[in-house]
Amino acid sequence: MAYDYEKSIRPGKLPHIWCPGCGHGIVMKGLIRAMDTCGLDRKNTAIVSGIGCASRLPGYLDACTLHTAHGRAAAFATGVKMAKPEMTVICCGGDGDGTAIGGNHFIHACRRNIDMTYVLMNNFIYGMTGGQFSPCTPTGAKASTTPYGNPDPIFDISKLAIGAGATFVARTTAAHPREIDKLIVQGIQHKGMSIIEVLDDCPTTYGRRNKFRSVVDMMKHLKANAVPIKAAAKMTAEQLQGKFLTGVLFHDTEKPEYCAQYAEVIKKAQGA
């Protein structure tokens, strides 16, 4: 029987705005399955986003959702979590939102190790505004602001998250839908900052400029270049050139979680 996604969609919200073939819908389905697996109570789940095509995701979901200013999802979400630590807090957003204008909030949320799960859809571009290059657009790739190829080096989001102090960092792609929910589930269950980077496709503003003839081409590219972390251990640096590692890249269960730490501070201050 087909999976019932509609029960999780806010009535009247469909059709969505995404282009045919956009990977964001695959991620949304993955998130719905993950929330079901975790048995999350929608009344007790806050899903926060900034703005961008990716950030439209929470608006479709029947939960407590907050659409916020560009790049600020992690900061708003931190406010929600501090006010209501009992809530499950999930952030959704794009590479531009999370690592360009919102890069500062992103790294500081990682550093604090506050208990939330950030699903970051990295489609290598600012999709919503028509395909300007983002900090994740591969060097050499074309964007509307780099018609002759992007000279900038990129952010590796997962490495950035690990470096900044997140304690659960995983990566997969829109071509691996089953892995999306598996990793989000682990992220939600992990107590601390979890970053799930999903390499995603934007056929409309990225694919067509970068010689991907079709959505299928883009999916094939994601599939062909994803290397599970275990397999990578047996590969040479040369073989790993241009590939992206997938799976759980980092998991630390020792570092204290921020809300718990803060509760301790309150206890101390009250002389308990």
Partner: protein, 404 residues
């Protein structure tokens, strides 16, 4: 001779910036500004414009880059809209206080929350006290001409200039306009020379902490404290009106266009009902004015306000005093008070003995349609002789086109 072309308002802006030979452009995309900066980046990468394009990670950084570039003596430009302008706010105040002649196009759009990508003027209005000169274009030709003149104004008075034009209504529509001839632009707009440009030969320390009181500098010259510097900004901002008029006269001799740089009246000479509006809406009102005159015998006129800051209060008071009714239509307001422009006009008229009946209308927020028919109807009803409202009612804004 230049020939008219048909292009979008955003392309018109980009062409002006190219002609102005801006040397550093830093921008972050936001609808409906995006095509201006895309066009500029395309011109630069294609080698048709000798400038650096910095694709920054936010608007805050865009203005910071412009501040750095202008401080180094380089002509800088950016463009934004809506929340992008708001996110720049700290830097806007900085650029004005530092007296840097940056030019920015603001493609006006409503601000969040909730998100809206459609047109109104709240973005610009929210920044009216930042110390920037704010001008409003009402068609594509004005976007080009005002942007060019803006560089000259900014560089003469050392105050940054915001050139506003309506998102979609102007940014995305196609209209004919004449791009000025490049050689003439070079004659009209000489290269930027900044007296305090950062240079290893003349090291200077810019914008350090300034004490409340005036004091002697290292050469023994008395220098103003913070308040004196701010007073200078205010005074020189006021003087910018005349400078703007002079620039316009010079522009006319070069290009044959202009003549109404501060306010642009349409059929106002004998008007007993004067409508005041900014941006494309002022042009929309010309149809209303014609109809009121023709069908209803109402002597109406529309005064487009082209320069909002510095506020040409005395000029407006002169133009409006003898009207029976002044109707201020605006796409933004000071929440909890009135339309910002209405409040400004009211205070400009206060010192004069004869004051027209004032009316304030809020329209088109977040892209709510502004049907010409409803502009006609509200104007007509509001000036009907039997409709004299008590001050408590007449002095509050009327919202046109509410649907709830």
């Amino acid at each position: 001779m230049s020939k008219a072309i048909i292009e979008s308002g955003n392309v018109a802006a980009a062409m002006a910036v190219q002609l102005a030979r801006a040397e550093v452009i830093a921008a972050y995309p936001i609808t409906p500004q995006t095509p201006v900066t895309e066009k500029l980046s395309e011109l630069i990468t294609a080698g048709r414009m000798d400038a650096e394009y910095v694709a920054v990670e936010s608007e805050h950084s865009a203005m910071a880059v412009c501040i750095g570039a202008a401080s180094a003596g380089v002509r800088a430009f950016t463009a934004t809209s809506s929340n992008g302008l708001l996110y720049m706010s700290e830097q806007l105040h900085w650029a004005a206080g530092a007296r840097l002649p940056i030019v920015m196009c603001v493609v006006n759009r409503g601000i969040g929350a909730p998100w809206s990508v459609w047109n109104d003027h709240q973005d610009a209005i929210s920044q009216r006290d930042a110390g920037w000169i704010q001008i409003f274009a009402k068609d594509h030709q004005e976007i080009v001409d005002m942007t060019l003149k803006a560089f000259r104004l900014a560089e003469l008075v050392h105050i940054p200039v915001m050139v506003n034009y309506d998102g979609y209504y102007l940014s995305h529509t196609y209209m004919p306009f004449e791009p000025p001839d490049a050689e003439r632009v070079d004659a009209f707009l000489p290269a930027y020379q900044y007296k305090h440009a950062l240079s290893p030969e003349h090291p200077e320390s810019l914008n350090t902490v300034t004490l409340p009181d005036a004091r002697l500098d290292v050469q023994g010259v008395k220098r103003g404290g913070y308040m004196d510097l701010r007073h200078n900004l205010h005074e020189e901002m006021g003087m910018a009106i005349e400078v703007w008029e002079e620039i316009d006269r010079d522009f006319q001799t070069h290009f044959g266009r202009g003549g109404a740089p501060v306010t642009d009246p349409y059929r106002c000479d004998d008007a007993e009902v004067v409508i005041v509006a900014m941006g494309s809406m002022a042009n929309q009102f010309r149809v209303v004015v014609d109809r009121l005159r023709q069908d209803d015998g109402i002597r109406a006129g529309v005064l487009a306000l082209q320069m909002y800051r510095p506020f040409p209060g005395a000029m407006l008071a002169r133009a409006l005093q003898s009207a029976k009714h002044v109707m201020v239509y605006e796409k933004g307001l000071s929440y909890g008070s009135q339309g910002a422009l209405y409040g400004d006009i009211k205070s400009a008229l206060y010192p004069y003995p004869s004051r027209p009946q004032l009316h304030n209308f809020i329209v088109g927020l977040g892209g709510r349609e502004i049907p010409t028919e409803s502009l006609y109807q509200t104007t007509k009803t509001s000036c009907a002789p039997d409709r004299i409202l008590p001050p408590a009612q007449s002095d509050v804004p009327q919202w046109i086109g509410l649907q709830l």
